[in-house]
């Protein structure tokens, strides 16, 4: 074998170096982002949700979204089964066995509401090349701005909760996602889904307050009477009194993927509701940005590389008499062939 053994050793050394550096790559990760100072959010309590879908209808109306016909084409009512370019929130159901009892994992069922969770460190904002996804520095609401979006759909691909959707069947389609009814909030109203929820399963408020409220519910005994606020935490609507469920003793969304502003309580394990649980406590955006900003910090590395390349290429061209030579590259290539 004519292959140079030294070449082999060099490559092998590089490979071992790469393997050893696998942990150091973690060090490239940028730090976590803090919860915005006046973060607004939602507490969705699956055990309170009765699956009436009033929130789905109210969302369509508030955001002027068209009905969606899934399954039977001739259905005349809105039947979304998943988020889409026509549907910004949706109620889904977990089912097991004979579905005898609500909020039970085995032979039971439970509801879950899906829409944008308004991540503390959102991937969609991080990946968007043209700032069409923004996160409000005060309220933390993640908004999409179609007026500058190029439709690359990196946000659709990158969202760990499968939230942003595109209108594939429009000549001039756009990304659609829950904007937390920012247009209603601007008028002093609350998001439509929380506004119509009859049981307070969707509750609007400041994230810090919602987090406290969730903790109070978890601290109570299952079966205990509890007064559930409806609409907005601290609002003046008549509350809804019911028994506390046998909760999973955890709040989904406080830590997962760097934290989100829509918190979940449930009596069945969160993964049964389709929420990703086998995930790190940091956002993937933190790794991607960490790698990229290390390589491209102040553009120093590319600049140094470019200067080096300019020097070497010029020298090599000069050596072979290519630079400025009338017959250009070709003379030397003749020589090269000989």
């Amino acid at each position: 074998m004519a292959l140079n053994r030294r070449d082999f050793l060099k490559i092998a050394a590089a490979g071992v170096g790469a393997a050893g550096a696998a942990d150091t790559a973690k060090a490239l990760q940028r730090g976590p982002k803090p919860m915005p100072p006046e973060a607004l959010g939602m507490l969705y309590d699956s055990t309170l949700c009765i699956g009436c879908k009033a929130c789905v209808a109210a969302c369509k109306e508030a955001n002027d979204m068209p009905p969606e016909h899934t399954g039977q084409a001739e259905a005349i009512w809105d039947t979304p089964v998943e988020l889409s370019g026509k549907t910004l929130n949706v109620i889904k159901v977990y089912q097991d066995g004979d579905m005898e009892q609500k909020d039970r994992e085995v032979n039971g069922y439970a509801f879950v509401k899906r829409h944008c969770l308004h991540c503390v460190d959102p991937s969609c904002v991080s990946v968007c090349p043209v700032s069409a996804m923004t996160k409000d520095p005060l309220t933390g609401i993640v908004e999409h701005h179609a007026d500058r979006c190029i439709g690359c759909r990196y946000c659709v691909e990158g969202c760990p909760f499968a939230v942003p959707k595109f209108e594939y069947n429009e000549a001039f389609g756009q990304i659609q996602k829950c904007q937390f009814c920012s247009h209603l909030q601007a008028k002093g109203q609350i998001p439509a889904c929380c506004d119509v929820c009859p049981t307070g399963a969707s509750l609007f408020g400041k994230v810090s307050d919602l987090s406290e409220e969730a903790r109070r519910r978890l601290a109570g005994q299952a079966g205990e009477r509890y007064v559930f606020t409806r609409g907005e935490l601290g609002g003046d609507r008549p509350p809804h009194e019911a028994k506390l469920a046998d909760y999973i003793k955890d709040i989904y969304g406080e830590k997962q993927l760097g934290g989100v502003q829509v918190l979940y309580l449930s009596a069945v394990p969160f993964e049964k509701l389709g929420l990703p649980t086998n995930v790190p406590e940091y956002s993937y955006a933190a790794i991607a940005e960490g790698i990229q900003h290390t390589l491209y910090k102040w553009m120093i590395a590319p600049a140094v590389l470019l200067v080096g390349l300019l020097y070497v290429v010029r020298r090599n061209l000069g050596r072979r008499g290519e630079a400025g030579n009338e017959s250009g590259a070709d003379q030397s290539s003749d020589r090269g062939q000989s």
Partner: protein, 376 residues
Amino acid sequence: MSAHEPVGGRLLTKPFMVFAVLAMIGFAILAARFFFGLGAVTNLNDGYTWGIWIVIDIMIGTAFGCAGYSVALLVYLLNRGEYHPLVRPALLAGLFGYTLGGMAAVIDLGRYWQIYTLFMPWYAQFNSIMLEVAWCVTAYTIVLWIEFTPTFLERFGLKNLRQKLSKVLFIFIAVGILLPTMHQSSLGTMLVALGYQVSPLWQTQWIGLLFLVSAILMGYAIVPFEGILASMGLRRPVEGELIARLSRIMFVVLAGYLIIRFADLIARGALGLAFAGDLDAVMFWVENLLFVVPLLLLVQAGNRSSPRMIFIAAISLLLAGSVYRINAYLVGYHPAGGGWHYFPSVPEMLVTVGIFSLEVVAYLVFVKKLPVLHRA
């Protein structure tokens, strides 16, 4: 005057016509995409929003287009002037790979009419790897056309301009080495943000390096692939000696790639998934066997001087790099929420075929009419 010359001969040959028709079919189908939306032509959905137009036309297309970059690394960086006759054909492959990749990107963009926002600094979002890729690919496509300009100038006898360009060409050559180093790795790093949705068989913080090295490999493989096809189709002698030497470099880079690939898998403890027996595992082995075959072929000195064996190794390598990209972005991608499926529709595939056919058509026009190939 020049050591390069047009091949000449009749342009409207049978292969030319076949590829031209395929290209036209692809573009006819595209009309539907622009009138009725992406969904009218593709099987894209809210789970798999990136399909073959992104993964094959752009990611694989530009990796094929790395021929110009890979050869430039050799000739201008490592100062291996003897490879110079390979530069122009390699640049040509790059020119088409990137120009058509850029075209595919525009076709796939859901809101293509707003593409200008990509280049308005006040919209720029500097955390976005997509932004870096878009800027780099655009700049590199322009650089490739400039690097290729001497060919036009020679063809039309513009000696004066050619001479002036020669003086500054080194700048474009250097930039032309920098840019693919940046964006071919970024095309891989784009995967990192997808997080748990990508199987650990492909999801790694080192994917940028792996994408870069595999793109360089595909760039090298394109040279004998194109060279040998051209010699058969256009009845020209093979640059046998050069291709044999190039194959040795291919071997060394390939060995390096596989060492990094598997060292990373082992270090992350992800190799176990390769034995899970599911589609991911099967495709993982298909991908890596395609990488190993050329390694085994080229390890034998005898094969390294056989154009036939090099041709087989090159095809295997091109397939390997292609399957790697398809695996990372489609097979190994399991979108959040679950329940989504994607297999490209026939019209969607015909558009991809059309784009590659256009590449062949343009190649034939260029080599027959312009001084691209080295004088026989």
